[in-house]
């Protein structure tokens, strides 16, 4: 690969302005959060409000940091799921549903079949993949917008999983006393992801090697996207479907594969959380989809769909979420952190604009349009 030097410089500039745009989004989000804190309770807004959110897990070291890591692992995976689909020009709003199915796959293999943890993880990815493949098939063969299909299948998945787990209170995975699925540690200890001493280190029951698994997957995804023919084809389909077809790329196959892999990633994320013993599934919650799926959209956008960037943006989002949970409930609601991440995604929706402005400000002299720019998230452009 002989790259011309100016191309490398251009790529670097692109990265630089992406990072700057992300930082700008974060700063504006934090400022709005700070304003909200001041409006709610000006007296305690700085030291007991804003500082705690910024401190995140470090407010209660090491326990808080352990929690940040526990939550980061699934978030990295749902972020990767959304980012991966973006690269093929698809908007995977269905990460929440794929995550739900992944949680079911993991818990079924753990609580009913008592399989070892790595097989449970595999099952969670498999279940997520199936749920991701469906919108992909609808998109490829019927040209139905994947956003609509994903939204529908999010809810179908949620109701289905709840029905199977709960089964009117008689489900084998359902603990009537806690109204959740059985605790993994008691029922099937061999299915818990090994913690390798991390839970002692952080004084939490649920910090495991999940975070390293997630980071490893992120690196694999980066290699696939950047260094393989398959990744090149996926990105080509994302940039221009018709041009890709003309170049001999089977765009239908690539759309389905992209959604399937995105689904597997989201499902795997659910496996990482539930097999760490971080949470139990509550089948009586029929009104809200897992927030992890939607926060994945935030982290993917913040990272401009870069797999390695997703690691950092996920740790950041879960850092401020944990920080939000340490807010004194007397003064502030924990949802301030959700407000901040919501604003960050809203800004990210037109981050391309920021990026353009920053790039122009930084390099006013050299204004070369870059045809190799990342596949912009262009969901919804096709007819339904």
């Amino acid at each position: 690969m002989s790259r011309k030097p100016n191309k490398t410089a251009m790529a670097l500039r692109q990265k630089g302005s992406s990072v700057l745009a992300a930082i700008l989004c974060i700063l504006i989000g934090l400022v709005v959060g700070l304003a909200a804190l001041f409006i709610i309770n000006a007296e305690h807004a700085w030291d007991q409000g804003f500082v705690r959110i910024i401190q995140g897990g470090f407010y209660d070291f090491p326990y808080g940091v352990g929690r940040t890591l526990t939550n980061s692992a699934p978030l990295i995976m749902t972020g990767l799921s959304v980012a991966f689909a973006f690269k093929t020009g698809l908007f995977n709003i269905g990460a929440a549903g794929q995550y739900t199915l992944g949680a079911f796959g993991a818990l079924y293999c753990a609580l009913i079949l008592h399989l070892p943890w790595y097989l449970c993880l595999l099952a969670s990815a498999l279940f997520g993949a199936v749920w991701g493949a469906i919108p992909g098939i609808f998109k490829a063969y019927l040209n139905i917008n994947e956003v609509i299909t994903s939204i529908m299948f999010n809810w179908i998945g949620l109701y289905m999983v709840n029905e199977i787990v709960y089964a009117r209170g008689t489900g084998a995975m359902y603990d009537v006393k806690s109204t959740r699925t059985w605790k993994l540690v008691d029922t099937s200890p061999e299915s818990v992801i090994p913690s390798a001493g991390l839970s002692e280190l952080f004084h939490t029951p649920s910090t495991t090697i999940a975070i390293f698994l997630a980071i490893a997957v992120a690196i694999v995804i980066w290699v696939v996207l950047e260094k393989t023919t398959f990744g090149y084809e996926l990105k080509a389909v994302g940039l221009n479907k018709n041009a890709a077809r003309y170049a001999g790329i089977n765009e239908k196959k690539n759309i389905i594969l992209s959604m399937t892999i995105a689904g597997a990633l989201a499902g795997f994320g659910a496996g990482l959380l539930y097999l760490s013993g971080g949470a139990e599934w509550n089948p009586l919650n029929t009104t809200t989809l897992p927030a992890m799926g939607f926060n994945g959209i935030a982290t993917a956008l913040l990272a401009a769909s870069h797999p390695i960037g997703t690691i950092f943006s996920s740790i950041f989002i879960s850092h401020i979420t944990v920080g939000g949970s340490f807010l004194p409930t007397r003064y502030f609601p924990a949802e301030i952190a959700d407000l901040i991440s919501g604003i960050i995604i809203y800004l990210c929706a037109f981050a391309m604009l920021f990026r353009g402005v920053i790039a122009r400000k930084l390099h006013a002299d050299r204004d070369i349009p870059d045809a190799n720019a990342e596949a912009a998230p262009q969901a919804g452009k096709e007819a339904k």
């Binding site: 139905i144 299909t149 609601p333 998230p377 339904k384």
Partner: protein, 305 residues
């Protein structure tokens, strides 16, 4: 049976109002995924208004004020979507998703702040909104919804505004070339959807219960309304039919355990799932000749060819 009719009407009207909102937005060329968030914000505004107004006020005034507040909140919130997707040319689905997440956070924060506690439940009295026909108890939203349906139909098909709005969703360049201000029409479309979505949010929350926990938002009704809109092929009368069809299933989910249907042994989850499956099937069959506005989802750029 009476219960089934009551629930179907109440829920169907909500779905219809919100889906009509989505219809206006999409005919102007903006995909409105944010309907769910708009409902939450509208519902929050309306509920707060009801909770704050003194109960001694004449019921008609309470109803009018709270509906106006709900509509206004929805309109203001929808402006965020309009601004991002029209002026800043942001991706509409991402902007909408962000607004949905933001809405729940805002609603919980405001509700907790209103209570001055850690509970995001708001209590209110809904007597002013209900009336009886024989033994059938209905809410004021039923006649209001029907009126709005008729108005929507007339606006969409019998006025110059409706024709222009649809032109902006089908071929904005052509619309612009004959002197229609595409930006203005798209803003109007989104704001109308905010108006209807806000009222829909209040209509969803108020009639059935006296306390609402804003942690659940509106439980996916906004997304279901999107399905209703597609099922109704972006046409007002069809949307009415689709909304009622969906509402029957939702009502069955609510009352299945109390009627003969319980012998089937189906749980509410299955009834809840059905409308989504039905709309997927319909989508699969109608995908080849979709009635969706041609230019929806594409930011309008005056300079583009």
């Amino acid at each position: 049976m009476l219960l089934l009719i009551k629930y179907t009407l109440l829920y169907g009207i909500v779905l219809m109002l919100v889906a009509l909102g989505g219809m206006f937005s999409e005919h102007s060329g903006i995909i409105n995924i944010a309907l769910e968030g708009i409902m939450v914000i509208g519902g929050l505004g309306g509920v707060l208004a009801v909770a704050m107004l003194p109960p001694s006020m004449p019921p008609l005034l309470i109803v009018t004020i709270s509906i106006a507040v709900a509509a206004l909140c929805g309109m203001v919130y929808s402006l965020l979507l309009a601004f991002a997707s029209i002026h800043l040319k942001a991706d509409q689905t991402i902007g909408g998703t962000a607004l949905n997440m933001l809405a729940t956070a805002i609603a919980i924060i405001l509700a907790k702040n209103f209570n001055g506690s850690t509970s995001s439940k708001i209590s209110y009295t809904n007597k002013a909104f209900l009336f009886n026909i024989g033994s059938l108890e209905l809410s004021v939203f039923v006649p209001l919804g029907i009126a709005l349906l008729i108005i929507s139909y007339i606006v969409m098909y019998k006025t110059r505004f409706g024709l222009r709005l649809r032109a902006c969703g089908e071929h904005p360049q052509a619309a612009d070339s004959v002197g229609i201000n595409v930006y203005k029409m798209r803003y109007s479309g989104v704001v109308i959807s905010g108006f209807l979505g806000g009222i829909g949010g209040l209509a969803y929350i108020i009639p059935s219960v006296q306390t609402w926990n804003f942690e659940v938002g509106v439980a996916g009704t906004g997304f279901l309304a999107l399905a209703v809109m597609i099922f109704g092929q972006w046409k007002p009368v069809h949307i009415f039919g689709a909304a009622m069809f969906f509402a029957v299933f939702k009502s069955l989910a609510n009352i299945a355990d109390a009627t003969v249907l319980s012998q089937l042994g189906w749980s509410s989850n299955i009834y809840n799932m059905m409308p989504f499956i039905a709309s997927m099937v319909i989508l699969a069959f109608t995908s080849k000749n979709s009635m969706a506005p041609k230019a929806e989802g594409i930011p309008y750029d005056k300079g583009s060819r």
